[in-house]
């Protein structure tokens, strides 16, 4: 689950990470008052779950409180379109109004889980404010790493190695190690999946500040991070995906094609998209029904697919393991009977209880296109449209 920049900064600040002076505003009036309080130049930052906001007009400097009002008025209510959002963009319902800081150096700092090492890793670089993946690829020596051994936790020497490695010695060394330790602690205690400060700024007046911040929480751990779970901003998620989540379907992602897919298992679902592509088509969505063992869950999932105006054909590709194909078949029949999937519907069943499942489809009297295998199902779906 992603946090907004302002939420991430509040969280980091609660662990002792220094952040620029600033407040969140949901109206131009509030933005003006905050700018007044801060005094001098301020930065107005549109709050949306996307990077690359600057180039998209989501970050602007206001010289005066009046200008802050004007910029906030423009931003609040807009759809911010960045290279990461897709063409619809994301709605801006609040802006962060912050002191404009005078930058001497920009550094990079983040914490994530390295799956192959099975440990959190703190990543640092002197090349702050840049695309860190590019830096990592082109100049790996510019990337510093420290792994956190769960047996002893993050240690002071690691913070020092990173701080000295970033060139933060002398008076900057203590604040730098404190910042690194606070960032790491915040990540570990909140079940973080990524915590990124890019850039960490050394100001001309000798402060170290988290000028921007991204923070995501491990979705699987939200059950024990209840306070953070409440910070979720549903406005930043696509309507269809919300609908799917409300129906208890964890993994639904809206895509750009016209073949709606209902599949069990993430791997099979990804492969179904691949097979559709190979057959010359495009999927309208990724949907992993998981081990949903009730016809109602299947009906709910098919309703989301069937009511998607982009969808011209529905492909059901199920290989039952824990999930039982007869239960899924019943759900497909119910959805068809309820008129939820008027589109041509291609069904491929295999695995657990496949005979019972196929029998149900056979006896339903409904017009399903039946596929025998994986590739055939994809081809039939593409044919159904063209």
């Amino acid at each position: 689950m992603k946090l907004h920049e302002y939420q991430a900064k509040q969280l980091l600040a609660s662990y002792g990470v220094p952040v620029p002076e600033g407040k969140i505003a949901t109206t131009p009036e509030e933005a003006q008052i905050i700018a007044q309080e801060i005094g001098g130049k301020v930065v107005i930052k549109a709050q949306a779950h996307t990077g690359a906001r600057g180039k998209a007009g989501g970050v602007k400097v206001a010289e005066t409180p009046a200008e802050a009002f004007k910029i906030a008025e423009e931003m609040i209510g807009m759809q911010l379109v960045t290279k990461q959002t897709g063409s619809a963009g994301l709605p801006i319902s609040a802006v962060l109004v912050e002191e404009a800081i005078s930058i001497e150096r920009e550094l990079y700092l983040s914490v994530a889980i390295d799956g192959s090492m099975a440990m959190p890793v703190i990543i640092a670089s002197q090349e702050g404010g840049m695309d860190i993946e590019e830096v990592a690829e082109q100049r790996p020596e510019a990337i510093l790493k420290q792994y956190v051994d769960p047996a002893c936790g993050f240690q002071g020497y690691q913070a020092r190695a990173l701080a000295f490695g970033l060139g933060l010695s002398g008076k900057l060394n203590r604040p730098a190690t404190a910042l690194i330790e606070a960032l790491t602690k915040s990540f570990l205690e909140t079940d973080g999946s990524i915590a990124e400060i890019n850039p960490v700024v050394v100001t001309t007046d000798g402060r170290i500040l988290a000028a921007d911040a991204k923070f995501s929480i491990d979705d699987s751990a939200l059950f024990r991070q209840k306070n953070l779970a409440e910070l979720r901003d549903r406005s930043q998620e696509a309507d269809k995906e919300l609908e799917a989540q409300d129906a208890g379907i964890g993994n639904y992602i809206k895509l750009n094609g016209n073949i709606g897919c209902l599949v069990n298992g993430a791997g099979l679902a990804m492969s179904t998209l691949d097979a559709i592509k190979m057959a010359g088509g495009d999927a309208a969505n990724f949907l992993d029904i998981g081990t949903a063992n009730s016809p109602e869950a299947v009906v709910a999932a098919l309703k989301i697919i069937g009511t998607d105006p982009d969808v011209e054909a529905v492909l059901v590709n199920i290989f039952g393991g824990l999930a039982r194909t007869d239960i899924i078949a019943q759900g497909v029949i119910d959805a068809k009977n309820q008129g939820l999937i008027p589109q041509p519907t291609i069904v491929r069943l295999a695995g657990s209880n496949v005979n019972e499942g196929n029998e149900l489809l056979d006896n339903s009297g409904l017009d399903f296109v039946r596929a025998n295998g994986f590739a055939e199902a994809a081809q039939l779906a593409v044919s159904a449209i063209s």
């Binding site: 889980i113 099975a118 492969s271 393991g321």
Partner: protein
């Protein structure tokens, strides 16, 4: 016991709820020796003919359980793995999905110092066809006795590959689902080593996914292997940066792309399948080519 599971396996099931019970019965019906279930507080009961105990240690002491199959819900699954490990169960298979990553990080750290092997989590388990031993949730009907082993991060793609093999007339020695999470107990490379050393396996299907670098590590191992490997990478057409169910499948840098993985596997000598519908037919071609079919 190159597949970690054979005629001598005695399976205890941790988390004997609806799913655990259903799969216990399927395993038993197939011929697997399921010796007990563990549900704290139900110790002493008998459910569906299986004795229930409060702790794994009791199941080990009384029934000599040597394989644990875990269906415990995600918030308690790491604890269940550690319990099996503390009872020195040599093979631990965790089906549970959505275990917090930081829980698995701690589990993995403990298992580094252990003689137990963990398969999963978020996996379909292991089946040894010749031994009629199943510790998992895979459908049995699609399998056919033979000598091709299947390894996969994704559960349903195990079934899909097996189904295609069977329809192509190719039997299987068994399958190992290593699991789709970012932190798993046994890597694809380690699973390949198990099958390379399994006398009943002659060739291997390896099914990877976008994200991470596990397939590149597997490719390194494939360079040292004698048995042919047919590989498929799921998610070649997935849009970057979206989480598609398997947390491990987030594209993280260029190494995580399907292209990079396919290239590494090809360079290592594996036969890479691009169309997921052609896993069976391509394996048939490889076997014919090598005089194995």
């Amino acid at each position: 016991m190159s597949l970690l599971l054979d005629e001598n396996s005695k399976v205890v099931i941790q988390g004997f709820g609806a799913a655990g019970q259903r799969e216990a019965i399927i395993c038993r019906d197939y011929g697997t020796n399921v010796v007990a279930g563990v549900t704290p507080g139900k110790g002493g009961q008998e459910i569906e003919g299986f004795p229930i105990r409060n702790t794994v240690q009791e199941a080990v002491d009384e029934f000599h359980a040597n394989v644990s199959l875990i269906f415990v819900p995600a918030p308690f699954a790491a604890d269940a793995i550690l319990e099996a490990n503390s009872a020195n169960v040599p093979v631990i298979i965790c089906i549970t999905e959505n275990i917090p990553v930081q829980d698995m990080m701690r589990v993995k750290r403990v298992l580094n110092n252990s003689n137990s092997t963990l398969i999963g989590p978020n996996c379909p388990g292991i089946i040894n066809i010749g031994a009629h031993a199943r510790a998992g949730i895979m459908p049995i009907d699609v399998y056919m006795d033979g000598n091709v082993g299947v390894i996969s991060r994704s559960g349903t793609l195990v079934y899909e590959a097996v189904d295609q093999l069977t329809k192509a007339g190719i039997g299987q020695s068994g399958s190992i689902g290593v699991g789709g999470d970012p932190i798993i107990g046994t890597s694809q490379a380690q699973a390949l080593a198990l099958l390379e050393n399994d006398p009943n396996t002659a060739a291997i299907v390896l099914i990877g996914e976008i994200g991470g670098t596990a397939e590149q590590e597997a490719a390194e191992y494939i360079k040292t292997m004698n048995k042919p490997v047919v590989a498929f990478i799921a998610g070649a057409t997935a849009p970057p940066g979206r989480r598609m169910g398997h947390a491990g499948a987030i594209i993280a840098g260029a190494a995580g792309t399907a292209e990079a993985k396919q290239q590494a596997l090809r360079d290592a000598g594996a036969t890479v399948v691009k169309n997921p519908g052609e896993i069976g037919s391509q394996m048939l071609a490889v076997l014919k080519d090598q005089g194995l079919a």
